[in-house]
Structure formats: structure tokens, C-alpha cells
Amino acid sequence: MSIEVQQVNKAFGNFKALNEINLSIQSGELVALLGPSGCGKTTLLRIIAGLEKPDSGHIIFNGADVSRRDVRKRNVGFVFQHYALFRHMTVFDNVAFGLRMKPRRQRPSESVIHDKVLELLRMVQLDWLADRYPEQLSGGQRQRIALARALAVEPEILLLDEPFGALDAKVRKELRRWLANLHEEINLTSVFVTHDQEEAMEVADRIVVMNKGVIEQIGTPAEVYENPANEFVYHFLGDSNQLQLDDQQIQFRPHEVLLSRRAEPEHRAGVVRDIRPLGAITRVTLKVEGQELPIEAEVVRDDASLNGLQRGETLYFKPKAS
């Protein structure tokens, strides 16, 4: 199901959370709302879900204006940052909740519910936890149960609010790959909110970069990274260096740099402050004379310039772009 957000505004008191938001999401797309905290991304997600009412503007699902439609009737699955599982219910009952709440005429029989819940639990690979209570589960398990619960009512749109925000780094990485795969499989129009650019880059088909209640740029991960629309997007999507060259200041990413042990034309000299092997790449921090900010250079770990390099040595670097 496609989603169309038209001229949406929302203020909380004097604080303008969303300012003239326009966004269209195609059916089956996986879109990330990316931005720093307080940029309005969660508010936008909640407005799409119907948990929040916009001050003005429209939300359109598949051509139908749902702005005035209640959450219950929008048929969206919502996954909360802190899972919001029902503590007094078992995992099974949590997942079955949506099916059991259906009006009597549409409600499936208990045996159908049973099969459906187990199928969903198998899909999130947690069918062996059906009889446990949420407090007996780990964070990653809870998040997957929350997802299974949201999917039980067969929503046409899946909305996730910082779905991996409360998890540790490793689980987070596993879970987001898993989510990307799941999306491939069931191909449900999905929108998720994150403040982690890496997460957005890794999972999303398209990224909506937001800041201070407005959309700064919409594009594929490659587009927003390679062709950032403005300074904000450039800085938000990755680390950057600033270098004073004669009378102008230039910016470049840590990986957009060439290193050399010998002085070469157009290269600048820097004293090695720190060397950090980070797996496939190694980060070298350089102090350049005449400027406060250090330069960070990221090169492949077997780069010739790194061979036997020690702190305190002088290294020559050149931004690739310029």
C-alpha cells in the first residue's frame, strides 16, 4: 500500500515539530526516516499511524484520505521503541492479542489463532518461547515478539519507531539484517525511524533525512551519501574533515584521502597522533600545522603507507576530491 503525506504541520505548544511535510512512499518500499533527536521523525511516524493528529495536511493510503481515520481502522502495524509488550500476558497471548480483539464476526476460531500465532513465532524464530512472559526475554527477543504481534493482524503498512535503539551493537546488527531479509520476503510497505545513519544506509531502499521539522533530502542511500543536498545532510551521513587550504576551506570524508610516507606534490604534511585498526580499514589521526581540528584518514588496512607506521611520524596526505 502506498503512503502519501501532504503538507503536514504539527506543533506542540510553541514548538513546531513538523513544517509542511510532503512525502510519498511507494507500495512495498522500505523507507528510513533519519535525523537527530527532536527532528520530528517520530512525530511523522505517529501521524502516519494515526496515533497523533496533524494540525493540518493529509495522510493518504492508496489514494484514500485517512487523515480522519482512527488508528484502529488504519490497519497499520506499529512497533514501539520499548516494545510495549503486555507484561501480564505470555508471548503467545501477546501475539494473539490483535486477532482476539477483532469483532466477533471477523474473529478467527481459537484453533486458527493458535496456528497463525505459532506460524508467526516460527517466522521470528521464537516459537520455543510461546509460554514465557515478556520479562523473561532478552531485548532482541522482545523486539521480535513485538514485530510478530504487529504482523499478526496482517497490516498493510509496517511502522517501526527506533526498532533497534534499545539493543546492544551486535544484536542490533543481526536484527536489522534480519529485518531487511524479512522485508524482502513479505514485501510490506515499511517505514522506520532511526537516528543511526549506518542503520538507515544498511536497511532502507530510500532515506528521508529530516532536521528541525523539515525534510532536508529524500533519496536512495547512494544518492544522499554521494550527492548530499546541503551541509546538514553531508555532516549527518558521515564523518568529515575540514582543511584550510591557502584561503579556502575544503571538506572531505575520512576515506576520501590518499596517504604517502614521502613528500609528494599537492600533499600536505601531518604528524601521526593515533593509529586505530578497525577491521577492514585503519583510521589514522593526523595533526596538521596551523589548524586546530585534526584530520582523520581511513585507508584499507594493507595500505602501503601504514607499513610499520608509528605515532609521532610525519605522513603526507591529499584529499582525493580536490
Partner: protein, 272 residues
């Protein structure tokens, strides 16, 4: 029961010993003394005292009114807690502080104030009188006094639990298609029930034993508006110590059965 030392408070033996001595001195000994004193009566004598019409009428009134007051506070107290937790309005802090006042006020003062208000010529009583409703000097008045005295229990037990229930829980339920009634029935009530039951039990237990506020508004007509604690006082005034003790023992037994049942119910609920 787990017989392993708590990692937080050192000295399991010491703490358990202290607890038992304390409980014995404050709670068990007076109760046991009462039982020993009552054992001077033979069973037929005891039965004769507690099955007297006047005693039975007072028993019904005491427990009935306490149950009614606890239920009333169970409803209104939950509502109060809800309003205090979920809404922000001017004067909220003041209302919050007012809730505890019934505990601070001497119960006799409460009883006299309520009587003055609800007596047939009182401020409220005269209006009630016009629609032929008598409040003071009827069981209704007793329930009113008990409700006043036990007001804080349910509010104060439900309030913190309600504060701990995130809004997200209700939102999650509505996203899953639950209507307002279903959210209340399947999400909020199950989460609140254990705390509510605790508040209800406290209110009920306190109401059964309440004396000071009731005697002013009850009118104390034997067999009609006479509560058990008053009956015990009457017996004491007549130097009938054994009779008073017998009634006390009976109250204790009935209360114990009630509290035990509620406790069992609570355990079943919290086990899910």
C-alpha cells in the same frame, strides 16, 4: 519459602529473628491473649453470645458496610488515581495532597463533621430529606463515614502502578484493533488488578475495625445501625469482658477468613 540469605540485607538470622519478635510483641501476643481469655468460655457459652440476634445484626452491618465502602472506594479511588496520573490541570497537586487528609484527621472529628452535614437538618441532609432519603443514622451514613476514612487506600496503591504503565501500551493495543473498552478490559485492568486488590483489602480491613467516625453518624440503634466495635464497647461498659472478648474473637475469625480468601485470589491473579 526460600531459606537463603538475601544479598542486600546481611544476617538472615538476625533479620528474621527481629521480624518474628516484633510481630509477636505487636500483633501476635495481644491476639493470643484475647484467645486465651476467651477460652474461659465453653463452646456453648461462646456460641450463645455470638449467635445472639443483636450480635448477628451488627456482624452483618459491620462487614456489609465495610464491603460496600471498600467497593465504592475501589471505583472512586481508581477514578481519582486515574485523573491524578493521566491529566494535568490546575490544582492537581492540591487534590493529590487532599487525598491523605482523612488519615490525618481524628476519626471522631470526621464523624461529627459528616453527621452535621448529612443529618436531616444538615446542609446536605435537608436536600436528601426532600427526596425522602435519610443518610445520617442509617446504614447509608455508616457507609459514608467508612468511605471517607478509607479513601486513601485504593488511590495510593493504584496511583504508582498506573504511573508505571506506559501510554505506549494502550497505543499498542489500539494499533492492534482494540477499542477503548477492550483496552480497559484486557490491558489496563489486568495490570492494575493486583494493586487494586491490595488497596481494596486494606480499605476493607480498616473499615471493619473503624469505630470513631461511625458512632456519631450511625445513631447506634441496636439491631439496626449498631456496628460490632460499638457492641464490644457496650459490653465493656457493662463489665461483660468475656462477652466483649467473644465478639472480638469472632470478628477476628471472620476477618481472617475474608483476608485469606482475598489473598488467595490475589495469588491466582498475579500468577496469571
Amino acid at each position: 519459602m526460600a531459606l537463603r540469605p538475601s544479598p542486600v540485607i546481611p544476617g538472615f538470622n538476625l533479620t528474621l529473628g527481629y521480624t518474628l519478635v516484633y510481630l509477636s510483641l505487636i500483633v501476635l501476643l495481644p491476639l493470643a491473649g484475647m484467645l486465651v481469655y476467651a477460652s474461659k468460655l465453653s463452646w456453648p457459652e461462646f456460641y450463645a453470645i455470638v449467635s445472639h440476634d443483636r450480635v448477628l445484626a451488627a456482624l452483618k452491618l459491620s462487614f456489609g458496610a465495610a464491603l460496600a465502602a471498600a467497593l465504592l472506594n475501589g471505583l472512586v479511588g481508581t477514578l481519582l488515581a486515574w485523573v491524578l496520573v493521566r491529566y494535568r490541570f490546575p490544582g492537581r497537586k492540591i487534590i493529590d495532597a487532599l487525598i491523605d487528609l482523612p488519615f490525618a484527621l481524628p476519626t471522631a472529628v470526621a464523624g461529627i463533621a459528616l453527621t452535621a452535614l448529612y443529618a436531616p437538618r444538615g446542609w446536605v441532609g435537608q436536600w436528601a430529606n426532600e427526596i425522602a432519603l435519610k443518610i445520617a443514622y442509617t446504614p447509608l451514613g455508616i457507609i459514608l463515614a467508612l468511605t471517607f476514612v478509607t479513601l486513601p487506600f485504593v488511590v495510593r496503591t493504584v496511583q504508582p502502578v498506573l504511573e508505571d504503565i506506559p501510554r505506549e501500551l494502550e497505543e499498542a493495543a489500539s494499533c492492534l484493533g482494540a477499542n477503548k473498552f477492550q483496552v480497559l478490559r484486557h490491558v489496563l485492568i489486568p495490570a492494575l488488578l493486583p494493586a487494586w486488590l491490595t488497596g481494596f483489602t486494606l480499605a476493607f480491613a480498616r473499615a471493619v475495625g473503624e469505630y470513631g467516625s461511625v458512632i456519631f453518624i450511625a445513631g447506634n440503634m441496636p439491631g439496626k445501625t449498631e456496628i460490632l466495635p460499638l457492641l464490644i464497647m457496650v459490653k465493656l461498659d457493662q463489665y461483660d469482658y468475656l462477652g466483649a472478648t467473644a465478639i472480638g474473637v469472632m470478628m477476628l475469625a471472620v476477618s481472617f477468613v475474608f483476608l485469606l480468601l482475598i489473598n488467595l485470589l490475589q495469588r491466582r491473579i498475579s500468577r496469571g
